[in-house]
Symmetry: D2
Subunit: 350 residues, 4 copies
């Protein structure tokens, strides 16, 4: 049996989503890592920067200008916002598929994009064809997509947490949907900044982005699309002293119709064939470590009968299902591989 | 000047609220530590268990049965729920004041107490005279109280966070008040349990008590009292991998009346003479470390104009303002000492 | 192709080495998990205790008395010291191979065993046939072993760190060998104890076992065997606020002969065919996270020319190469599987 | 009683030693904070950068060029190496005393200084008069000093740990003194760097500076002075995932003479009048948290009889006794205040 081997490029391999892609792709049975670019570190061995990859990745970082990305089957962009859209058309012209882990292809409304990212969108026509990469919501479109806007980490938890309710019209939109989300510090990226130093962010926590966070419009756009209506959405992210892990606690007012629905059964049914979505038994209290290092997302439902509310608790590893793992899942779909290929990493506990 | 010296006893000095009382009281200028009891550790030096106290506390733990607590001016109970009520009447008869850091004197409704703590209340008449010990709400009553029910850690954040709104009737009670609270692991106490081992609770987080937490009825009772009306209250606590620190994110729907009120000014005015309540400037994002080790509580207001909601972020050190520090603050008031005596500990950062 | 499937039993599956065995074996291509025993938790699903295993382990814990371990090909003991030796002869009689992750089969001198473990050794004849399970030192014997004494975590770092020097006689034994070792808290096990609570062991560190640690005689016995001479060995372990990870800093006085030896080359040559031993380039400073979750051990050499000393820095994941991973490596060897089967887990970083 | 109030300036108040000085000095009864300089943050309120100081420090950072430091009684330099020596003569001419927390006045040998700090020493004559600021070793000189070179954090642990042996000639210098030291991450300072990000340095540890660390020559110079002889000294620092705290494990070969000496008694006697040095009972295992936030240093002795070695375990808070606290202790001595003034902060535990 000769396995199909995809030639894979990674643009921007020095951040956390980059090294996480490398962790997953270096042992993916259908992948040949072909190029990993980094402007600043061109020429140095990847495994010198990330000794965890010694023995798994032999490549050196190459200069983006010289990397032959057009020979790849697929290129992942693990770059700052705005980079992927500059190279998208060229790659597409060379029949290369593209998965962007930044925000360039997440927001269909370019005005919203420009407001939040302070950048004009340079390829709106490519954007129009791009698919928002949550397989459990948009699998069919992903199959034939040339460009994936891989979702933000927070949106993945909120959208998969709410999708069954939204799809069935079980939310009373007169009250706002509230997502109180908590993220490990790796979510802030591998940038040298005082605020995320160990001595600043350990043994402490804080809310941030209360006045407005870039994932708010991204979640909002998807929520309204899934709901088919306008709604109010309050989103407060928090920074938690852990490396990986994300937990969203979501508060929704149930509609009259929902009162007679077995929501636990609804969720179990909705996700019964989803390898990476685990609806926990009623009353469960999932811990982020239960998904550490894996592409799993776990959802638990708690009904606050008296107030007519439902509280959802959703956990994922922000770097896997929230970023690199979901990107690989999208790649598998795009190339007709079994969706879990290379993603059967058992979570680490402890 | 001869300072008045209070003879102070601590029942149950081996937990975190116990050692925190010792940290504060051992250098309190008006206190003589007279007895520290522990059934299991009687006879052993306090500083052997807590080497941090070497040079500050020379006492040994004494057997509760033999400690001469009736000679004290005030006795703190840093014990499991149910202990203080067994000794309250005897101490009161001996003219000893009593500050209970457990729940025995927090809930005026004994049926509610018995439901949540699975214990009959053994001294309802003492309970009736007990004062709920949040000085910023009940200072006058505390001055003449013989028995203080020192509040739970979570309630202190939620109640001081909401008091100005409740007092002024600025909340629309048709929507539930939602408190999404996060606590450091010391809040779980110094008990040998698997769930709070370092290897279990580090680098991970979880929600807990979603189906019902003992602080819910405590907060609820105070909320309805301050509001003067029934209301809905949703409370979800979370366990965060940090030693100390508590942050509550509170979501409330503002009433019509509130829309024309300068809430920032309201809060600043309400707390302007409160030494331990810090209303942060508009838009602030307080970190728990900004109060680490101190009796300070900090509040920040964020208005979600569109949804008609207000988001409050409240931080405190759960062992200080949330427990031992507030207890000492209550003691100072009960004995007519300046309220900040012994409590001017500058927070630790980093 | 029909892969050979081994029937595997685990006795004592509720501790950290137990769950780590489960993480590795549940996706091992040649293993069928047959029984996982736990006296206290018999009947409950393994994945209820460890939700990280949901979807990977469907078994429930079974009662040790009723588990049909004699039908297994191999049984791992992830139990307290003293359990394996009670069942060894029965299993051997049933042709079951046995890998003990506790200390029962590590020390050939039963008097030393009894002194340090306060237990008489109940099967000295089995012990005599047992092999000390470091593949890089005793691979040939492991191939035909029926019983493996899987090494302690600290010994693995010290012995693999020193083996090339000991084998070549490059140490001056007039000075003691000093191993200053540091371990993450998971090394203390999953027992409910105050000392290893998050609030006790986070943001702090300590030395322990300075007056004598059980791994001292284990290391000492191996050192003298490899050296072929008596020597002095000082061992000070430390507890570090991290979940996993172990780092040993080893100080040795080099012999005259060593002064003309290229030690870096010696180490690289000695371990060139060892999949799991990584001799880092000269001057490297390995971090424990570079092996997190993997069976890798990394060694770096630093020569202190002036003092005639060599400093070795050795890192491993204490639960993998220091316990469960090495046990699986031993199993692979005992059953003639490729040594790295099921062990190609890329380390997690960050 | 009118307390003498010192006018105090701090140059470089934005790093960890700066904010720690502010924590201690803002409530020091004999201090008036007069100026806190920062080139980059001039004009902004100190409490905006460090909200922990709200209510304690009302000053804004001032521009170094405009701060009237010459009106101060004493100026602390919490600056990078090389800054203090540029301003020393001017301040001395204005009768201002100077305490440098960097390295400018720690090494009497300017060639050694220049080798390790890559800077020429610009005021060797001031240096000659400077006193190395460990009060327990050089108290008399500190009393009349105009300039203090406040010691490095590591040197304080090693020197106070070894001083009694060195003074009494109880070490066999034929073997090297080995200090295996461990530091919390705050020791790396408040600089934006990738290596000390939370996601890089949490849940991991490493050795560093094995090939040479700036504190080696500093310790070496003091060791040889106290020993009165040449010796070998091996020093390996390690970075530990905790905010504060430092632990040095020190291995020394005892001289023949030492074999009949009660070393525990020797240490207790040597430090009996030292407020900030705590010789722990025989066999103690001090934790770094036992000194968290305080100026205490704790020492425990462990004799390795067989090998003729003594192992010392020394703990301190690297930012207090290892930096700002010792600096304040020096100030107290220089101005004839009780040595513990402003330093009676009870350590935080948990």
């Amino acid at each position: 049996m000769t396995a199909k081997k995809l030639k894979v490029g990674i643009v921007g391999g020095t951040g956390y989503t980059g090294v996480e892609l490398l962790r997953l792709l270096s042992v993916h049975p259908n992948v040949t890592l072909t190029a990993i670019t980094s402007r600043g570190d061109a020429g140095s061995a990847v495994a010198d920067m990330f000794p965890s990859l010694r023995g798994y990745v032999d490549l050196a970082f190459s200069d983006p200008a010289q990397a032959n990305l057009s020979e790849c089957d697929v290129v992942f962009f693990a770059t700052p916002h705005g980079v992927a859209m500059g190279q998208a058309q060229t790659l597409l012209d060379a029949k290369v598929k593209l998965i962007d882990l930044a925000a360039d292809f997440r927001l269909q409304d370019t005005a919203v994009f420009e407001k939040w990212y302070k950048l004009p969108h340079s390829c709106p026509n490519v954007l129009r064809e791009a698919v928002y990469g949550i397989p459990e919501l948009y699998r069919e479109k992903i199959k034939s997509a040339q460009v994936i806007g891989n979702p933000g980490c927070y949106p993945t938890t909120v959208l998969l947490g709410l999708a069954p309710l939204l799809e069935q019209g079980l939310i009373d939109y007169s009250a706002p949907i509230i997502a109180d989300s908590k993220s490990g510090v790796s979510g802030a990226g591998r940038k040298a900044e005082v605020a995320t130093l160990f001595a600043e962010s350990s043994d402490s926590m804080k809310a941030y982005g209360v006045a407005g966070h870039r994932h708010h419009p991204e979640i909002y756009a998807q929520l309204t699309q899934l709901a088919g209506t306008e709604l109010h959405f309050i989103f407060v992210p928090h920074l938690i002293p852990m490396i990986r892990g994300m937990l969203s606690t979501i508060y929704v007012k149930l509609s009259e119709k929902a009162k007679s629905v077995d929501l636990q059964a609804l969720y179990e049914q909705r996700y019964q064939h989803e390898r990476f979505v685990d609806v926990m038994p009623t009353g469960s209290l999932p811990e982020t470590r239960s998904v550490r290092g894996s592409n799993q997302i776990r959802i638990a439902l708690h009904r606050q009968a008296e107030a007519g509310y439902l509280t959802l608790v959703v956990v994922q590893d922000n770097l896997v299902k929230g970023a690199a793992g979901q990107a690989v899942q999208n790649m598998n779909i795009m190339f007709s591989l079994p969706e879990n290929t290379g993603l059967e990493v058992v979570p680490f506990l402890p």
